[in-house]
């Protein structure tokens, strides 16, 4: 059991690798099943479909990764997305000239909501689960009261964000990957990024070391809400109008699932955006496969549930309980133990993975 093994583990990288291995596995299996039904999973149509599906969830999941790394959580993303789509659409009101302010307004509001989330979590010390659940309800009330149904009108020019394609790759997906890259860079190369890992790992230690923990968590929440806002823009551009309805499409939980599928540790401090993108692609692949096989919608849910659990189980055990230190007396033929190897201690070897019960 995890509680029994000394909590030492090999670097997070390896988890991400597993995520992509899982993705490949699912792609292969999916491809086989689809081809058995006489179709081709990698047909242009399906690739487009797969990528389009991934972009929306992608934006949200990337943001979710940041808050989860900080040992927080955001259950209000769905509502922020809905709100932002409405603000954008109603502000644009069909005029190309108003696209910029509309985007600014939507993202601005989203950021403010993120700020509030962050402040409530850090300063008022409300558990993020409840804080953001509550924030979600607050927005819901506002939406239900003020937007009875779809509203606003998005000009063609902006709809292109949702529909343009470069080759088989939708523009929105390219943007999503760009954002992901930026996020990865941010986590590895900015102080705030480093501090997010620190705060998630152990807020007290971070504080003692002079990290402004609250500010870090708040930043994460703002960024997360911003990305939910971007998702809202994507929605608006695809719907040609704003829609309150999207809030109960379950993106909140799905994004968390994607993050965890991506190998990020729910209790913060480990993981990264690279994995999350993998997680998102896994979920999108499942949807595409189910669709091309036109699986019964209810069975779909059953399968998704099972596969999510299974996939996480595959590497949860490994990534949580760490590899032991140098195994002095290996039962099996000894794995190469490379003392003093760069980036490694005499006592610590990545190859020792899972050597213990």
């Amino acid at each position: 059991m995890n509680a029994l093994t000394p909590s030492r583990r090999s670097p997070g990288m390896s988890t991400t690798t597993i995520v992509y291995l899982a993705l490949v596995a699912i792609l292969v299996i999916g491809a086989v099943l689809v081809s058995m039904s006489g179709r081709n999973l990698f047909s242009n149509a399906n690739i487009v479909d797969l990528l389009t599906r991934s972009s929306l969830l992608g934006f949200i999941a990337i943001g979710q990764t940041l808050v989860i790394l900080c040992r927080s959580l955001d259950l209000s993303v769905g509502y922020v997305m809905a709100l932002s789509s409405l603000i954008a659409a109603t502000t644009m009101d069909g005029q190309v000239s108003r696209i910029p302010i509309a985007m600014a307004a939507a993202l601005g509001v989203a950021a403010v909501i993120g700020l509030v989330n962050g402040v409530v979590v850090t300063k008022l010390k409300v558990n993020a689960f409840i804080a953001t659940l509550g924030m979600g309800l607050i927005i819901k009330g506002y939406l239900d009261t003020n937007y009875a149904g779809p509203a606003g009108d998005v000009p063609e020019a902006f709809q292109s964000f949702g529909y343009t394609r470069i080759g088989p790759i939708p523009l929105s997906t390219i943007v999503m990957f760009a954002v992901a890259a930026a996020g990865i860079w941010f986590l590895h190369r900015s102080r705030t990024g480093h501090h997010m890992y620190a705060v998630g790992g152990d807020a007290e230690v971070a504080r003692m070391s002079g990290v402004r923990t609250d500010r870090t968590v708040i930043t994460a929440h703002v960024l997360c809400a911003l990305l939910a806002g971007v998702a809202g823009l994507l929605i608006a551009s695809r719907f040609g109008t704003g829609s309150a309805g999207v809030y109960d499409d379950g993106y909140d939980l799905e994004s968390i699932a994607a993050v965890v599928l991506g190998g990020t540790y729910l209790l913060g401090g480990r993981g990264g955006i690279g994995g999350t993108v993998g997680g998102v692609l896994i979920l999108a692949t499942l949807d595409s496969v189910f669709n091309t096989l036109s699986v019964d919608p209810f069975i779909k849910d059953v399968l998704r549930g099972t596969i999510i659990i299974a996939a996480v189980a595959v590497y949860a055990r490994r990534s949580l309980s760490g590899a032991p230190t140098r195994r002095r007396f290996p039962e099996r033929p000894p794995e190469p133990d490379i003392p003093g190897q760069p980036g490694d201690t005499p006592t610590h070897s990545e190859t020792g993975a899972g050597g213990r019960p």
Partner: protein, 345 residues
Amino acid sequence: MTGGNGIAARLRTITERVLSGSATVFVLLGLILVVISVLNPKFLEPGSLMLFIKKAAPLVLLAIGQYFVIVSGEFDLSVGSLVGAQVVIAALLINGVESATVPVILGMFVGGALIGLVNGLVTTLLKVPSIIATLGMMLVLYGAIRWLTGGAPTGALSESFRVAGRQGIDGVPVIGQIPWALLIMVALGIGAGFLMRSSWGRTLVAVGDNERAATFAGARAWWVKTSAFILSGLLATAAGILLGGYAGVTAQVGQGLEFTAITAVVLGGVVLGGGRGWVVAAMAGALTVEALFRLFTQLNLPSTIRPTAQGLIIIAAVAYAAVDRARRQRTPTTIGTPRHSDVAS
């Protein structure tokens, strides 16, 4: 050290508990009830109080179950769809046949326990974070049940099935009717209270607080947690029986209850992440949530704006409790995450 005599000590624990975050919920509950009864004195009549309890009982049971899981450091997001599944299956199997009622109910409890068992084992043995494990279970149940019934509930519940949630002991002086729901709720509440004072309960809290230490002390952490999930499954089943009894089968039954239940438990001052909290307060939390809904209708608040009010009140209450706790026991570890917390998967 001073080992005060039994009663004094017990009183001390109670007060300490009430002080440590639980106070808010009782105050809030009292407040809401007062406001309601000012708006509508009829509410205080035993009759309508009983009707209120009838409605609230299922959530209270769910809150108890959720409490066990949360205090052990986990989540159970599957209870909502479990309640739904139970009611729909009951309707499907009973299909109006009185004689089928009892066997089906027994079957439901077995089923509930099994779902809990799976949740528990997936969480403890497969090391899948419980949010994900139970989220997956939520999807599976949701899909499975609709697949089974072709999308919409079929069949019908028998009258005897509905007794627990709908009837009561009639002809009681003053009160008129004591709902079975009330008795069941109280009985299970007391049961839970004692359970938490048993060694199982103490171990459960210890595991939620520091799984590693508890394991080193000889606790079977995996089993203790799993049994918490099983209890949650059983209580969800009981809640399903009350709910189905109260209102019969509709396609939506149970939807979203998991979040309401968690909210209730947290309102009760139980700390997400485990190791702290009092089951009685969790039950009070459930009553508070229900009272809140009731208050909104009394105020004739436009339905659309209610979620906003609900969100604000919940955040405010939890924030108050949290800041309060923080103020009362300032210590390096309140903001910091205790080092052991990273072994609790």
